[in-house]
């Protein structure tokens, strides 16, 4: 059972307060939607939870049962899908997947890669450089990466942006598939997306 805890979390840029006194505890199977208008700090909150930005105050804990996860384990168990997460344009889709899984401490076979590429509707495109992909295909590739890393923590920022109708359907399907075994955090403005989550946190009031 994995847990994610935020205690008295606050972030501000100079005089601008994005969020403060944020407390929550999530365990595997839980999901949280972060909603709010543009510029309300949804992405900043996600980045802070991911450890990529330092909170002004408070703490974030990743734990398995009662033992806190070390940084290396956390990196292996966390997955993130977002339009502003860039993959290597000059590498092929397969090379990207293989690189990120290896570097996060996992192991992957060609067969597994083909399987997830098929799941996201990119079969046969594995050998093409990502530079030739449209933004929607790139977004699908990020879902393939999330699937491969089999995350205990899944963070989604604007999960269906750039996706066509078909892509949206695949994304929702994948999220439904992964959510039972992970902690899901979604930052979004789309009603259909935040209804995927069991709890909501509203920013920017």
């Amino acid at each position: 059972m994995f847990r994610l805890m935020a205690k008295d979390l606050a972030k501000r840029f100079g005089a601008r307060k994005l969020f403060s006194a944020l407390n929550f505890e999530l365990t595997t199977g839980d999901s949280l939607a972060v909603i709010g208008p543009n510029g309300s700090g949804k992405s900043t909150l996600i980045m802070t939870l991911l450890g990529l930005q330092r909170p002004t105050k408070g703490s974030i804990t990743f734990a398995e049962g009662d033992t806190e996860l070390d940084d290396a384990t956390r990196r292996r168990l966390v997955s993130f899908v977002s339009p502003y997460l860039n993959l290597y344009d000059q590498l092929t889709a397969e090379e990207n997947l293989k690189f990120f899984i290896t570097v996060s401490g996992g192991h992957v076979t060609g067969k597994q890669i083909n399987k997830v590429l098929q799941q996201v509707g990119l079969e046969g495109r594995g050998v093409d450089p990502v530079a030739e992909f449209s933004s929607g295909m790139k977004q699908r590739l990020k879902y393939a990466l999330a699937l491969l890393s089999n995350p205990a923590y899944l963070f989604l920022d604007e999960p269906t942006s750039n996706l066509d109708r078909e892509g949206k359907k695949i994304a929702v399907q994948l999220v439904e598939q992964l959510r039972a075994e992970s902690i899901l955090i979604i930052a979004t403005n789309e009603e259909e997306e935040y209804q995927l989550a069991t709890a909501q946190y509203r920013l920017g009031q």
Binding site: L52, Y84, Q90, T102, V103, G105, G106, A152
Partner: protein
């Protein structure tokens, strides 16, 4: 959870292989560094004439050419990650240690390639004593290790600054000062024909410098990478 986890060595190797692959597909850093080295070398040779240069002058010229060429290309391995926005994904999924080791190995390979091309050209262009080229190799190797070892962390620092420009050379030069002084002294002895035995103290110094700078970089890198 993934079936098994991999260690530091295979993660570092993955970073190194990834950067080599990117470099082979664009050849940006290698072209920059080689063109810079060959151009400065040609200017030096053209303006000073080919023969009659003292070992002191030759050794200083050689390391000035290497220093500035290194400055033109070694920061690329980190700057590229920031410019293409891939640093975010890498930072999210990779531990700092394998990232540093992989990038250090990449910079070392880049400098080695440059040294392999530039050293023979230098001996041709300047009429440096070619009979000493064998005893020069250990000095060159230690110089390449020291240069890449001390500047990879600086490259990581400047890639996170909003204005990069000349910052890489400005930050690197004071740190490389002891290295360059020892390299010039050792090279002068070798070119002067006194053999490697005479330059033993400098070689030990170069080795110690590389070990200390790489260790310090490993300890400090996470503070640069994670903020």
């Amino acid at each position: 959870m993934p079936p098994r986890s991999t260690g530091l060595d295979s993660k570092a190797l993955a970073v190194y292989a990834k950067d080599m692959r990117l470099e082979l597909r664009s050849r940006y850093a290698l072209n920059a560094i080689l063109m810079f080295a060959i151009t400065t070398l040609a200017v030096v040779s053209f303006s000073l004439g080919q023969s009659g240069l003292s070992p002191k002058l030759l050794s200083a010229l050689f390391w000035i050419v290497i220093f500035f060429s290194a400055m033109s290309g070694l920061a690329h391995v980190f700057v590229r990650e920031e410019e293409t926005g891939t640093a975010l994904a890498l930072r999210l999924m990779a531990d700092p240690d394998p990232v540093y080791i992989g990038k250090l190995a990449f910079n070392f390979s880049l400098l080695t390639t440059m040294a392999v091309v530039v050293t023979p050209l230098f001996f041709i262009f300047t009429d440096a004593p070619a009979e000493h080229i064998i005893s020069f190799l250990p000095v060159l190797a230690l110089g390449v290790i020291g240069l890449s070892g001390a500047t990879t962390l600086v490259a990581a620092i400047i890639s996170r600054a909003s204005v990069k420009g000349a910052l890489f050379a400005v930050l690197s030069f004071p740190i490389l000062m002891p290295l360059l002084i020892a390299l010039v002294a050792a090279t002068e002895k070798v070119f002067g024909g006194s053999g490697l035995g005479e330059a033993l103290a400098e070689l030990q110094f170069l080795f110690a410098y590389a070990v200390v700078m790489i260790t310090a970089s490993l300890l400090l890198f996470k503070f640069v990478w994670q903020d």
